[in-house]
């Protein structure tokens, strides 16, 4: 009974909203869900927006899955943006030395959609 993560299509892009707690069990599911949504979406070329404003805690494990998923989505040709990180989560990750270097970020969903622009 793993909760699945809702993936919506907004303005031609895939929008994944991660809610509540991305528990260790759900985190793998998240990656699979996102990758198979991209797979189903073949033929289109919108970007991928991952909204993490619902995440209160992001440890190195979750951060790694987020970064890996973003990298995989990029390899599959999707412009990928992570948006909505909370101030305390950003401070914690940086203090630990985890800068998520390769990940593109945006303030919120609006800002993220702006970044992704119109699908080509």
């Amino acid at each position: 009974m793993t909760p699945t993560i809702p993936i919506l299509r907004v303005r031609g892009h895939l929008l994944v909203s991660v809610q509540g707690e991305l528990g260790d069990d759900v985190v793998e599911q998240f990656q699979n869900d996102v990758l198979s949504a991209i797979e189903r979406d073949r033929g289109r070329d919108g970007g991928l927006l991952v909204d993490i404003s619902g995440l209160e805690v992001v440890d190195t494990y979750v951060a790694r899955v987020l970064a890996d998923t973003a990298a995989m989505a990029r390899l599959m040709g999707r412009h990928t943006v992570v948006c909505g990180m909370r101030p305390e989560v950003a401070a914690t990750l940086v203090q630990m030395g985890y800068m998520l270097d390769g990940v593109e970020t945006a303030l919120d969903v609006d800002d993220g959609l702006d970044r992704l622009g119109l699908p080509r």
Partner: protein
């Protein structure tokens, strides 16, 4: 130091890590941690309990809401009877991992808390104790 709440939580399976994390978060709230301090101690709880599980083969955590009469805080202890940390100096410096990880969990947790003690002995196990105090009361 007065212990206001003390709980012992088993760390044996993946699902136990979020339980420790959640309890730490609730106690941080009870101890009046602000959002930054709460995220910091909760994240440390997550890192250290996962280390006990993944590297230490499981063990237990003691999560405590403490007070020294003037400040409230959280004390977390993680204990396992695993192989111990091979190179403790490198592990504390960060960027060292025996897995395929960045190796930032242990060193990062240390930077997130006010007090940090590790005892580890090869073949016997590891005990990590951390304390974080709430800031700016009233």
């Amino acid at each position: 130091m007065t212990v206001l709440v003390s709980e012992r939580l088993t760390i044996a399976v993946e699902g136990d890590v979020p339980v420790v994390r959640r309890r730490a978060r609730e106690l941080a709230q009870a101890a009046h941690f602000d959002a930054f301090a709460s995220a910091a101690i909760t994240t440390a709880a997550s890192e250290l309990s996962r280390n006990a599980l993944v590297h230490g083969g499981g063990g237990y955590a003691v999560v405590e809401h403490v007070s020294d009469g003037l400040r409230e805080g959280l004390r977390l202890v993680f204990v396992d009877e695993g192989p111990g940390i091979l190179d403790i100096d490198r592990a504390l410096r960060g960027g060292y991992s025996t897995g395929r990880s960045l190796g930032l969990g242990l060193s990062g947790s240390r930077r997130l808390v006010d007090e940090f003690h590790v005892e580890t002995s090869l073949g016997k196990g590891t005990r990590v104790e951390v304390v974080k105090w709430a800031r700016f009361r009233r």
